[in-house]
Amino acid sequence: MKQRDPNVPQRYYLRVDLFPRLLHGLLMASFLGLAATGLPLKFSWAPRAGELTTAMGGFVAILFFHKVFAFLLTLCFLLHLGYVLNLALVRGESGVFWGPNSMLPQPKDLLDMFRHMQWFFGIGPKPRFDRLTYWEKFDYWAVFWGMAIIGTSGYMMWFSSFFGQFIPGWLFNIALVIHSEEALLAVWFIFAIHFFNSHLRPEKFPMDLVIFTGRVSEEELRTERPEEYARLVRGDRLQEIETDPPPLWLKNFGRIIGYSAITTGFVLFGLTLLALLGRK
């Protein structure tokens, strides 16, 4: 592979629009808030859970904030649906629902996953990824369905008196189990798997700032997403997405937000693991 000449300034390309970046920010904030205010109840048997809850203002406070964050995440979910529908229907962009720019799993994703694992074992080259990789799509759909499932079950319990008019009460038992188990899955997945896939793996360590700056360097695009790069070069569309380098303030802003989020996530992840290991 051709090495980059360090004397030639890097070109940068826009990978994530401002609106999805803002939505990701809202998602992060509300997700962390929901995790922090929800986990104490899930781990209510743990020795320090009560003290942690008291530190956050007591049960009434965590329930209140849980509902505030739930509202924000719902808003985030609806804004995202609006964004996708706007892209697809109003702006008529083809490729939202199919093709390399679509979040829908493509046949290539299955192949990529298979080849990626071959590469893990050293029995094949690294697959040539396109704009969206299979693990990114898994992250996306995990969060998408997670929000739908946890949200639905959460609203059922929040408005149990209302829902109780139409559905049998034992569904609230089911709702609690689904809500809390799916939430634990989401929390662990984000704090362990997503953090590694997107930020902590050696290629990105300590953090991939693209979700804050929206920009990738030409080298990153070429090496990480060779298929997308080649496609853009072929179609002569690279200039369309060329942008200025990420300003320092934006990178620093991203670092502050990012490190805070990763720290919060790791603390919560660690607390849940400690609680489980200490369970008698």
């Binding site: 104490p40 899930k42 209510s44 049960f59 050293g122 149990s160 008019q165 590694f196 050696p202």
Partner: protein
């Protein structure tokens, strides 16, 4: 040669000055006794003070009695023999029933063994020559003062250890209890004091079947004041089991404790009582902890249903009993106490749903199982995926590093 102690010598010398020539016991008046025993600093040969405060004695409940009622062996002045020590047996001359009761009590029996630690008449009723009616606020056995009097011994852990008394700090515990506070803070004469439960002269060990605080007698002892609660309790499933002789049936003190009985509207009590119910109803506590109500109380907060909110406290019945607040016909009303819009649908919620019980909660069982499979599946796959990826990435970097140096 007999050495006459100086004080006795003084006494003998002074005597003729005061003696009115009385020789027989029946003629000994209190005045003649007080002729010596009212002198300031009057003391016996061993230096023991022998002064009787005449005014205090006159004001005492025994003020009208002659000294010889108790000091019956004093028949002459000067005393020919050293008068005997006046003990409980002297009191029995008038208070025969009381002393008989006392002798059977733990205090009387302990005193009989020779210990001086155990209470005798004066330990509780005060100085022999100044005994007051129990209704006199100055009496040590006046209801508002009694706990302090008992506490002289029963607030002393060392004394308790010496005599194998199981509760070593009964006084301190009591003073912090709702009974103790009612007594000290509000000055309520009706507040239970030590004697309300343990009796007066017939204080017995808790293990003694005749004791008012023996396990078998507790409900009726508490019921002396708490008649309404005792009635509700005896109607309920716990009281019924107790009446039938079930030794494991909970009685008042199992939930409320003995000496440190707390207000039931405080958070610590509200939370602790849940575990108390759970000490017998283990499965119910486990399943309660699996649902929202139990999780919130486990965290230490109380704005949710606890055992008694649904099941009642004293009038507890089996759910199959139509009198139970959790019997199917009362369930809606019970849930409506907190969930005003609860209806037939709503009450199908189970506050004790057990996800491990396949027969009772098949749907919950399978949903929980599926969720667990999902969690395990996702983390087995992505755990391996992550570990392998990390290993490969690190290997790649190692092998590509030298290349970079060459380039």
């Amino acid at each position: 040669m007999v050495r006459v102690p100086r004080r006795l010598a003084t006494l003998v010398v002074l005597l003729p000055l005061f003696a009115s020539g009385a020789t027989a016991a029946e003629e000994l008046s209190n005045e003649s006794c007080l002729a010596c025993h009212a002198i300031e600093g009057f003391a016996g040969p061993s230096g023991r003070a022998l002064v009787v405060e005449a005014e205090a004695f006159d004001a005492s409940v025994h003020g009208a009695l002659p000294c010889t009622s108790c000091h019956a062996d004093v028949i002459a002045i000067p005393h020919e023999e050293k008068p005997k020590h006046v003990g409980p047996m002297a009191c029995s001359a008038c208070h025969g029933d009381v002393v008989a009761t006392y002798l059977k009590s733990i205090h009387g029996q302990a005193t009989a063994t020779g210990t001086t630690d155990a209470a005798t008449c004066t330990s509780c009723h005060g100085t022999a020559h100044a005994i007051k009616k129990a209704t006199d606020p100055a009496s040590p056995v006046y209801p508002l003062t009694l706990p302090r009097t008992c506490g002289v011994c029963h607030g002393d852990p060392e004394l308790a250890m010496r005599h194998g008394i199981p509760v070593v700090n009964a006084y301190q515990l009591y003073m912090d209890s709702i009974h103790g506070r009612a007594l000290t803070k509000s000055g309520l004469l009706v507040a239970a004091n030590c004697s309300s439960c343990h009796g007066f002269h017939d204080v017995r060990r808790g293990s003694d079947p005749e004791s008012r605080v023996h396990r078998a007698n507790i409900p009726s002892t508490c019921g002396t004041c708490h008649a309404g609660v005792a009635g509700a309790y005896s109607e309920g499933v716990h009281g019924q089991a107790f009446t039938k002789g079930n030794r494991h049936a909970p009685i008042c003190i199992d939930c409320h404790t003995t000496h440190q009985i707390a207000r039931v509207d405080t958070d610590p009590w509200k939370l602790q009582i849940v575990s108390e119910c759970g000490s017998c109803h283990r499965e119910s506590l486990r399943t309660y902890r699996d649902t929202f109500h139990g999780q919130v109380t486990a965290l230490g907060f109380t704005p949710v249903a606890r055992c008694s909110d649904c099941h009642g406290s004293h009038r507890v019945f089996a759910a199959s009993d139509s009198r139970s607040s959790v019997a199917p016909e009362h369930l809606i009303a019970t849930c409506q106490k907190c969930h005003p819009r609860a209806n037939e649908n709503f009450v199908q919620f189970s506050p004790h749903a057990d996800p491990e019980n396949r027969e009772k909660n098949p749907f919950l069982y399978f949903v929980t199982l599926s969720m667990n499979f999902l969690i395990v599946g996702v983390f087995v796959f992505f755990g391996l995926h992550t570990a392998l990826w990390l290993a490969r990435s690190l290997l790649e970097r190692q092998s590509s590093a030298p290349k970079r140096d060459q380039g």
